[in-house]
C-alpha cells in the first residue's frame, strides 16, 4: 500500500513539474468553463425569448378582451375578422408551442441549433413549417459547431488524457531504466495501473467538481437530479473507456513517441474517421429528403380540397370528425359555405399528419441505421446519449413536433365544434380559448 501511495506521490510531482501538462490542464479547464458558460447563455437566451413571447401574448389577450367589452358596449366597429366568430376568435388566441430548454442544456447544446424552439401555431400550421427550422445564425459557425461541454468531454478530454498519459511508462523506456522499476517488487500491470489511476482520479474529480458547480448555478437539482446523475455516470464510463484503451497502448508501447502516435491515431480513428465514414454511408443510403411529398400535400392537396363542392367537403368532414354529427349544422344539407371554408383546415391537417408520419418514419429508419452502428462508433453513442439527457437530440425535437401537432389538433377541434354549433364568442368563451392554448 505504501508503495502505491509512493507511486501516486511521485506521479503528482511529475505532473506539477511538467509545464506542458499543467498548461494543457489549465487550457482544458478554461475550455470547460467556456463551454458550460456557452450552454448556460443559450439556456438563458431561450428562456428570455420564450418569456418575451409569453408577455407579448398576454398583451394581445388583453387587447382582445377589451374588444369584447367594446362589442358589449356597442363601441366596436364591425371588423373584417369578426372576433365573435369562433374561427377568428381562435385565430386571435395567441398559441405558441415552446420547447422549454432543459437546465441540462448547460452540458450539451446537442441539436438545439438545428431547430427552432418556439412556434406560432394556427389551424393551418404543420410540423414542418419554416418556423420549426433553426434560428438565424452564421452557417459556417454552425458547421464548425459550438464549444459546449459535450464537445469538450467527448473530443477534447481524450486529447487531454493523451497529453497526460503519453509518456507514462514511455519515459522510462525512452531513458532505458524501465527494468529498474520492476526490481522494486512491483509488476508492470500494477505499476501502470496505479499511475493511470492517479490521472483517472484527477480528471474525474476535476470534471465532477465543475459539473456540480454549474449544476448548482442552473438549478438542476430542483427537478433534474436524476438526469444529472445519469450524466455523471456516462461521463465516468466515457473517461474509463479511454483509459482502458490507452492503458493497453502504453502497456505494449515501445517509447513515448510510439505511444503518443498510437494514442492520437486511435483518437483520430474513433472521433473523426469512423463517425465521418458512417455519416457518409448514411448519406448515401438515406439521401437528404427534399420533402416533395410534404410540399405536394401542403400545397396541392389543400388546393384540391378547396375546389371540392361544399356538400362533398361536408360529408368528408362528418366522416373525419364524428363529433360533428351532434352539432347544430350536422343535418343541414344547405350548410353555409363559410362554415365549410372555416372547417377545411381540419381535412388538410389530416393529410398533413399522414405525410408527416411518413417523413418521421423514414427519419426513424435512418436513426435506426445510425444506432445499429453504435458498437463500431462508440463516440457517437456517448455523444447522442448526452444530447438525449440534455433533451437536445432528434427525439426531443420529435416530441416538440408532436406537441405542436397536438396544439394544431386541439385548435381544429375547437374551431369545428364551435363553428358547427354556431357559437357566438364573447369574452367568457374567448377566455376558455385562451385557457386551452396557454
Amino acid at each position: 500500500m505504501i508503495q502505491y501511495i509512493q507511486i501516486i506521490r511521485s506521479e503528482y510531482i511529475h505532473l506539477i513539474r511538467s509545464p506542458f501538462k499543467i498548461i494543457s490542464l489549465s487550457l482544458f479547464i478554461f475550455a470547460l468553463l467556456y463551454s458550460c458558460q456557452n450552454g448556460y447563455e443559450l439556456f438563458k437566451k431561450h428562456n428570455i425569448e420564450i418569456e418575451s413571447i409569453i408577455s407579448q401574448n398576454e398583451k394581445n389577450i388583453d387587447e382582445m378582451l377589451a374588444q369584447y367589452e367594446d362589442i358589449v358596449k356597442g363601441e366596436q366597429k364591425k371588423l373584417r375578422r369578426d372576433p365573435t366568430i369562433p374561427y377568428w376568435a381562435i385565430w386571435n388566441t395567441p398559441s405558441y408551442a415552446f420547447k422549454y430548454p432543459s437546465n441540462m442544456m448547460v452540458f450539451s447544446l446537442g441539436q438545439a441549433e438545428q431547430y427552432g424552439y418556439y412556434k406560432k401555431v394556427t389551424n393551418w400550421s404543420t410540423t414542418f413549417d419554416s418556423d420549426t427550422a433553426e434560428e438565424i445564425a452564421n452557417p459556417e459557425r454552425l458547421a464548425i459547431g459550438t464549444l459546449d461541454f459535450n464537445f469538450v468531454l467527448i473530443y477534447l478530454l481524450p486529447i487531454l488524457i493523451i497529453i497526460l498519459l503519453f509518456n507514462v511508462g514511455g519515459l522510462e523506456k525512452d531513458l532505458k531504466f524501465e527494468k529498474l522499476i520492476f526490481l522494486n517488487n512491483i509488476t508492470k500491470p500494477r505499476w501502470l495501473f496505479i499511475r493511470f489511476l492517479f490521472y483517472f482520479l484527477v480528471i474525474n474529480i476535476l470534471l465532477f467538481k465543475l459539473m456540480f458547480i454549474y449544476a448548482f448555478a442552473t438549478g438542476i437539482f430542483q427537478n433534474e437530479s436524476f438526469d444529472f446523475l445519469n450524466l455523471l455516470l456516462i461521463t465516468f464510463l466515457y473517461i474509463f473507456f479511454w483509459f482502458v484503451i490507452f492503458y493497453f497502448i502504453n502497456y505494449f508501447g515501445k517509447n513515448s513517441s510510439d505511444q503518443a502516435l498510437k494514442m492520437i491515431s486511435t483518437w483520430i480513428l474513433l472521433s473523426i474517421i469512423i463517425p465521418g465514414s458512417i455519416h457518409q454511408i448514411t448519406s448515401i443510403k438515406y439521401p437528404v429528403n427534399y420533402m416533395i411529398d410534404y410540399i405536394d400535400v401542403d400545397r396541392d392537396m389543400s388546393n384540391d380540397i378547396f375546389e371540392l363542392p361544399t356538400d362533398t367537403v361536408r360529408i368528408q368532414l362528418l366522416k373525419a370528425f364524428p363529433f360533428l354529427e351532434k352539432t347544430y349544422f350536422s343535418d343541414d344539407i344547405n350548410i353555409d359555405k363559410s362554415v365549410i371554408n372555416k372547417s377545411i383546415s381540419g381535412l388538410v391537417n389530416i393529410e398533413n399528419k399522414k405525410i408527416s408520419s411518413v417523413i418521421e418514419s423514414s427519419n426513424e429508419e435512418k436513426n435506426k441505421f445510425i444506432r445499429s452502428l453504435y458498437l463500431i462508433n462508440p463516440i457517437l453513442a456517448f455523444q447522442n446519449k448526452i444530447n438525449s439527457i440534455a433533451r437536445n437530440d432528434y427525439y426531443s425535437y420529435l416530441t416538440y413536433r408532436k406537441h405542436i401537432q397536438s396544439i394544431i389538433d386541439k385548435k381544429i377541434e375547437i374551431i369545428l365544434k364551435d363553428t358547427w354549433n354556431n357559437i357566438t364568442v364573447d369574452s367568457k368563451r374567448y377566455a376558455y380559448y385562451v385557457k386551452n392554448f396557454k
Binding site: A133, E140, A260, H279, Y290, I295, R371, L380
Partner: protein, 467 residues
C-alpha cells in the same frame, strides 16, 4: 539540397510502415473521393428530380387567377457543386428547399442535419476530412523525429562535419516531407479530376485547392521539422507540435467562431420578422402607412388613364397594388436582409483574421470556398432565388394588372400557356473569379505563415543544442 531530399526519400521508402501507410492512404483517399462523387451525383439527381417535379406541377396548373398562382408559388432546391464531393462545407447543416411565393420571402428549409440524430461533429468522410486532419497529422509523424533522431543517433554531428549547412539540412528534410504531402494531395485531386466531370471552372477551383493545401502542408512540415531541430528529444518535439495541431484544428476554430458571433450578434428570427412586418405595414421610415401609399398609387393611375374611378380603369388596379406592395416589401427585405448579410460578412472577416494565429482556419475557409460550399456560395444561392422570386411575382402581377382583367375581378383566370411562358428557376454556381476577393485574407494568412516558418527554419534552429 536535391541530394538530401533524394536520400530522405530513400530512407522513407525503406520503412515498411511508411510504405504500408502510403498504400493505405492512397486507397482511403481514392475510395473517399469516389464515394463523395457517387453521393454527390445521387444528390444532384434527386435535386434535379425535385426541381423537375415542381416545374411540371407549375406547367400543368389549371387555369387560375395570377394572384392565386403567386400564392401557389414555386420552389428552388439548392444545387450542389461537383466539388461538394470533396468538401461539403456548410451544406449538411443549411436547408435545401426554399418556397418562392408572393408577399413573403421564405427561409431555406429542411437541412440534412435536422432529419436524423447527430452523426458526426467533423462532417462526412470526404476528401477534405482526410486532407485537413489526417494527412497533416501524418506529416507531423514523419517530421517530428527527422532531425532529433539524427541527433539522438549522433549522425547529425557527422553530417555537419561533412560540410552540410544545418539550415539547408533542416529545410531539405522539411521539403522531402512536404513533397510527400503534395503527392497524396495531387493524387486525390487527380482522382477527382478523372471521375468528377471536370469543367474548366472545376479545374481552376482544383488548382486553387492544391495551392491552398500545398501551402498548409508546407507550414505543417516546416514547423514540425523546426521543432524537431529545436528540441533536444523527439518526444518534446512531438508533444509541442501535437499541442499546436490540437489548438489549431480542434480548439481555436470553435473558440474563435463562438467569440466572433458574440462580437457581431445576429438578430433572432422573432426580432427580424417583427421588424420586417412592422416596417412593411408602417412604411420603411415609419411615416408611410400602407393605406396612404395605396391612395397615392390610385390617384397616379387614375390620372394616367384619365378616369375618375377604379371601375373605369382599363386595367386591373389590384395587380398594380400587389406589385407596388411587393416592391415595397422588397425594399424592406433588402434593408434587413442586407443588414444580416453585413453582419455575416463582418463575422466572416473577423474569423478569417484568426488565420494570422491559426492557419488551419484559413485552410478550412479556402477549402470550403474553392469547393463552392461556404457561406458566400450559400448566400449567392439565396440571392439568386430571391431574384427569381421577384421576377416570377412581377410577371404574375403584371399579368393580373394588364392581362385583360378589370379591377376587383378575382375570378379572372389565365391558362397554363401563360404559366409555361415563365422560365423555370435555374441556378448556376458562381465562377470562382467573381468570389476570389473574399478569400484574399485567407491566402494572405497562409502565405504569412509559410514565410514565418521558412524564416524559423532558416534562422532559428538551435544548432548549438544539437552539436
Amino acid at each position: 539540397m536535391i541530394h538530401i531530399i533524394k536520400n530522405e526519400w530513400r530512407i522513407l521508402l525503406r520503412g515498411k510502415i511508411f510504405v504500408y501507410s502510403t498504400i493505405l492512404f492512397l486507397m482511403s483517399l481514392t475510395i473517399t473521393v469516389l464515394l463523395g462523387i457517387s453521393q454527390n451525383k445521387n444528390q444532384q439527381l434527386l435535386q434535379k428530380k425535385a426541381q423537375n417535379h415542381m416545374r411540371q406541377k407549375w406547367e400543368n396548373l389549371e387555369a387560375m387567377n395570377p394572384h392565386r398562382a403567386a400564392h401557389y408559388g414555386s420552389y428552388a432546391f439548392k444545387t450542389s457543386n461537383i466539388l461538394n464531393s470533396m468538401d461539403s462545407g456548410i451544406n449538411d447543416i443549411t436547408g435545401n428547399v426554399i418556397k418562392l411565393e408572393g408577399h413573403v420571402q421564405n427561409e431555406i428549409l429542411y437541412s440534412e442535419a435536422s432529419q436524423s440524430l447527430s452523426i458526426s461533429k467533423f462532417g462526412k468522410l470526404k476528401a477534405s476530412l482526410l486532407l485537413q486532419y489526417v494527412i497533416p497529422l501524418f506529416l507531423i509523424f514523419l517530421a517530428f523525429g527527422s532531425i532529433s533522431n539524427e541527433k539522438e543517433s549522433k549522425r547529425l554531428k557527422i553530417l555537419i562535419l561533412q560540410g552540410i549547412s544545418f539550415s539547408k539540412l533542416t529545410f531539405a528534410k522539411s521539403l522531402s516531407i512536404w513533397i510527400y504531402g503534395l503527392l497524396l494531395l495531387t493524387i486525390t485531386i487527380g482522382v477527382q479530376l478523372i471521375f468528377g466531370d471536370a469543367t474548366s471552372e472545376t479545374v481552376i477551383r482544383l488548382i486553387l485547392i492544391v495551392i491552398s493545401y500545398g501551402i498548409y502542408y508546407y507550414i505543417i512540415s516546416s514547423l514540425a521539422t523546426f521543432f524537431s531541430a529545436k528540441f533536444k528529444s523527439s518526444t518534446s518535439a512531438l508533444s509541442s507540435i501535437l499541442a499546436i495541431w490540437i489548438a489549431w484544428t480542434i480548439f481555436l476554430p470553435k473558440i474563435w467562431g463562438n467569440t466572433v458571433e458574440k462580437i457581431y450578434p445576429l438578430p433572432s428570427r422573432k426580432v427580424f420578422k417583427t421588424i420586417m412586418k412592422e416596417e412593411r405595414l408602417k412604411g420603411i421610415d415609419g411615416h408611410n402607412p400602407t393605406d396612404k401609399r395605396r391612395e397615392e398609387i390610385k390617384n397616379k393611375y387614375l390620372a394616367i388613364y384619365n378616369v375618375d374611378s377604379l371601375k373605369n380603369l382599363p386595367i386591373n388596379f389590384d395587380g398594380i397594388v400587389m406589385q407596388e406592395d411587393e416592391e415595397y416589401g422588397n425594399i424592406v427585405w433588402d434593408k434587413h436582409f442586407g443588414n444580416n448579410y453585413k453582419i455575416l460578412q463582418k463575422q466572416k472577416e473577423t474569423y478569417q483574421k484568426s488565420g494570422f494565429f491559426n492557419p488551419f482556419a484559413s485552410l478550412q475557409s479556402l477549402s470550403m470556398g474553392f469547393c463552392g460550399t461556404d457561406m458566400f456560395h450559400h448566400l449567392d444561392f439565396l440571392k439568386k432565388s430571391e431574384e427569381y422570386r421577384r421576377t416570377l411575382i412581377k410577371a404574375l402581377n403584371n399579368e393580373h394588372a394588364f392581362g385583360g382583367a378589370k379591377t376587383g375581378d378575382w375570378k379572372w383566370t389565365v391558362d397554363n400557356t401563360f404559366f409555361k411562358s415563365i422560365e423555370d428557376f435555374s441556378y448556376r454556381n458562381p465562377k470562382i473569379s467573381d468570389f476570389l476577393s473574399h478569400y484574399l485574407m485567407d491566402l494572405l494568412c497562409l502565405l504569412w505563415w509559410s514565410i514565418i516558418t521558412t524564416i524559423l527554419i532558416k534562422s532559428r534552429t538551435n544548432k548549438e543544442l544539437l552539436i
